[in-house]
Symmetry: C2
């Protein structure tokens, strides 16, 4: 199809305190003797949020270590563990940032699809719906709450399980849940949304649907990260909407230079997506002059230090590896630089860029 037929999340609730409705929301999805599994970012271990999870019967909380982004091995192990313990489950509820939500989506799919999640890295390879799945963000900016992918690092590549079966059946957007995020983490994740907006709005792939969402997300990011005074609950309300709108804008748009270069960092050094994008975007004045200028204002206003010199001391082979990964992201380059992008972005130019990071 020329235009993507976009699968939407089935149910969405937005509101301060809407997390308290979770028991009621899950009730009709429970299947006799099969538990709900709550996959929770390990950040919340021993935090009050855990006591608010509406456990019933054999329901289980599993804390997920998301120090690194999810791996296919981790997904496969979780699905195998749940199958062994319960046969099947009523649903998987992901509570956390992009990694925790992506993990929940992937485990849900692997409860009903044979083999390894690595077999499904790509586009439309998933053939069976997963078990019921819900996403509850506690960090905003990735857009994972509405995306049709789940980014996974596999044995041979970092690539999502992109399919119409991947989006959540339910999302719960409760701005109270993002209030306690560490300030730097909140910034990096928020900037994932901001940088996405700059890349897609200046790109060549855009249409009016994605432009509408992208502009709204951009405005909300500007209000949140540039407004005078202290952080207030209203900032959380808006950041949560920015992430949602930014995620929706992906439907008919593409990211650009920062994401392509950042993938190289992630692959070689394990740099997480949000901070990696910030490290790269900080050096992209040439490609996004206004966006980078505004980004630097946001960095200053929010008193964040962007890590520097992270590629210092890497070997020639290591640089070549990052360049290989980045150059492979053809649609991103084409969106950013046009059909003749290969004339504009050479391996030499890319090496210079990586050396600046």
């Amino acid at each position: 199809m020329k235009f993507r037929n976009f699968k939407m999340v089935s149910y969405m609730v937005y509101g301060r305190g809407s997390f308290n409705q979770l028991d009621e929301i899950l009730a009709p999805q429970r299947r006799e003797s099969q538990p709900m599994i709550f996959l929770v970012d390990h950040f919340f271990e021993n935090k009050p949020l855990v006591d608010r999870i509406p456990l019933r019967g054999k329901d289980k909380i599993i804390f997920a270590d998301v120090s690194y982004e999810p791996k296919t091995k981790q997904v496969d192990a979780l699905a195998a563990q749940l199958k062994q313990e319960f046969g099947n489950v009523s649903g998987i509820i992901g509570i956390g940032g992009g990694s925790a939500m992506d993990l929940a989506k992937a485990v849900s799919l692997m409860m009903n699809n044979p083999g390894s999640s690595a077999d499904y890295q790509g586009w439309d390879l998933v053939k069976q719906p997963g078990v019921y799945k819900a996403g509850i963000p506690t960090l905003s900016g990735t857009g994972a709450e509405v995306s049709r992918t789940t980014v996974l690092t596999g044995p041979t590549r970092k690539l999502g399980m992109n399919s119409d079966f991947t989006p959540f059946d339910q999302i719960v957007l409760d701005p109270e849940l993002i209030a306690d995020a560490p300030v730097n983490q909140r910034f990096y994740t928020g900037m994932d949304c901001y940088i996405h907006c700059i890349e897609s709005l200046t790109g060549t792939f855009l249409n009016e649907f994605s432009k509408s969402y992208g502009e709204k997300a951009l405005n909300l990011c500007q209000e949140v990260f540039l407004s005078a005074g202290d952080w207030t609950p209203l900032h959380d309300d808006r950041l949560m909407m920015a992430s949602y709108a930014g995620g929706m804008s992906i439907a008919y748009s593409q990211v650009g230079v920062a994401h392509a270069v950042s993938y190289g960092l992630g692959y070689l050094l394990g740099t997480k997506h949000g901070i990696g994008n910030c490290i790269v975007f900080d050096k992209l004045e040439e490609y996004y002059p206004e966006g980078v200028k505004e980004f630097k204002k946001m960095v200053k206003k929010n008193r964040i230090e962007i890590p520097q010199h992270i590629t210092r001391g890497l070997t020639n082979d290591q640089f070549e590896t990052m360049i290989d990964v980045a150059m492979g992201m053809k649609p991103l380059w084409e969106n950013a630089l046009g059909a003749d992008w290969e004339k504009k972005m050479t391996r030499g130019r890319l090496r210079e860029l990586y050396e600046q990071l």
Copy 2:
């Protein structure tokens, strides 16, 4: 639940020419020997669009007279006719404005629910999913493409079948389809979106989700109806997005004075929703000073004449009927004027308002 758990449309495609993908989109929804039924606004009889409908097997086009808004009798008759002719159908595809789309939603539901559609006017009375249903707008502004209702005039009231089974399974947003709408009809329907935005953004029920969508829809309406120069395809692109965003903003907001008063006109005189809202809003400077000022600019810029004196010569009983209908719209008044609205909007004040129309 304190916060509505909002059922979204399942699939959405947006793009110029996306109507050409309809055959491919419908293919997986076809059930053996059961046809797809295309409910098409009678405006398109003998127009080229009809020849582009991808008919297969026993598929049938039914032209729907939408001179008046849909009635429960009309819905019941259509569903009965289809059951008699085909037993059941693979799906109902509504092509047209808000009335045609609402009709399609209602007929889809009545293929699988017993009794009369009048039995389901209200909230969450529908118990069974309908047959597959898709909405393809050819007029933009009502937001019917994403709403969870289908406004119907029944034997005793004008009220929607509000339910989680009501939203479409698929919407096809092709801005080429709204290009040929009559200029005045396009304006009235577009103003349905604009007036909704003004009413919800100034209302007391708003939250950040609905505010984000409402602001985007408002900006798009302003760009479309106030920009200098002639109407271009870009205006259609944006108006279509304004309608979508305006519809989404309904999730956590409510309309206000114009809608309440307009329902009285609709009930007594059969005035259609879009034009009725314009007739009323034109006289609401007191309640929406800035919105009405901008509305008058839009009227002038687009060289529209808003009908005047439509209540001249009505009897006292007729005025009383309209006042009864309008006063019954409690949530709308509360949203517009606050919890103590009854002190601010008396029957006498409402009579004065109706006499000005």
